[in-house]
């Protein structure tokens, strides 16, 4: 089975949504998915933060247009995409332990239900080396 490895550096609404769409496509294809959440990304996974993410990484002046369009098009939230992908295929989400600490997350219970474990950078690189597809968002 093909394996997708994703380095999720960004914790912004636009890039989280992109990650969610890509991940659910991988789920439809029965791929195994491993996501390594780095630096800024970890903020979105702190328990209670999932609905607080409203900044864009790119073209921040278009935020209103972007969020309204997602709503009009009935697009799932980034969190829903991640949940759907986890229901459909083998998706593991790991938080880089340094990234967690930056946003006040020391232990697994500090993070939301999507997160499987905390990890170190070595594991991310090994996963990227072994994956069929690697992307950095």
């Amino acid at each position: 089975m093909a394996k997708l490895c994703m380095g999720l550096f960004s914790g912004s609404l636009d890039k989280l949504t992109a990650a969610g769409v890509i991940m659910s496509g991988a789920a439809a294809d029965d791929m195994d998915v491993e996501v390594f959440v780095l630096l800024q990304g970890a903020r979105a996974f702190i328990k209670g933060n999932e609905n607080k993410i409203d900044n864009l990484a790119e073209a921040s002046h278009l935020k209103g247009e972007f969020t309204q369009a997602l709503k009009d098009l009935n697009v799932s939230t980034w969190y829903e995409f991640f949940e759907m992908a986890k229901e459909m295929t083998n998706v593991k989400i790991y938080i880089c332990s340094l990234a967690g600490k930056i946003w006040g997350g020391e232990k697994l219970e500090d993070f939301n239900g999507l997160v499987d474990d905390l990890c170190g950078i070595g594991e991310y690189l090994t996963a990227a080396e072994e994956a069929d597809i690697h992307m950095f968002i």
């Binding site: 769409v21 659910s24 496509g25 789920a27 294809d29 009935n74 697009v75 459909m88």
Partner: protein, 83 residues
């Protein structure tokens, strides 16, 4: 299959994904194909242009047979036979 043959197909499962944008129809197709038996036919209704190319490619990769697409007003119907 010809357009006429497609239109006369008796489908075992119909999935209406017209209310969703990409990747909604693909996800609906993936979920629903698990509920039918091998050899049965499913139609997916979609109004998302990307889906027209996406679902046939996905189906072929997953071992299902893509039978064809019928255009209707404002949406289209994609026919698949489960492998």
């Amino acid at each position: 299959m010809s357009q006429e043959e497609l239109q006369n197909l008796v489908v075992d499962k119909s999935v209406d994904a017209r209310g969703t944008a990409c990747p909604g129809p693909l996800l609906e197709a993936k979920k629903s194909i698990g509920t039918i038996a091998s050899g049965e036919i499913m139609e997916v209704l979609s109004a998302d242009e990307g889906t027209k190319r996406d679902i046939p490619k996905w189906a072929n990769k997953k071992g299902h047979e893509y039978l064809g697409t019928v255009e209707d007003s404002g949406y289209f119907k994609i026919y698949l036979k489960k492998g």
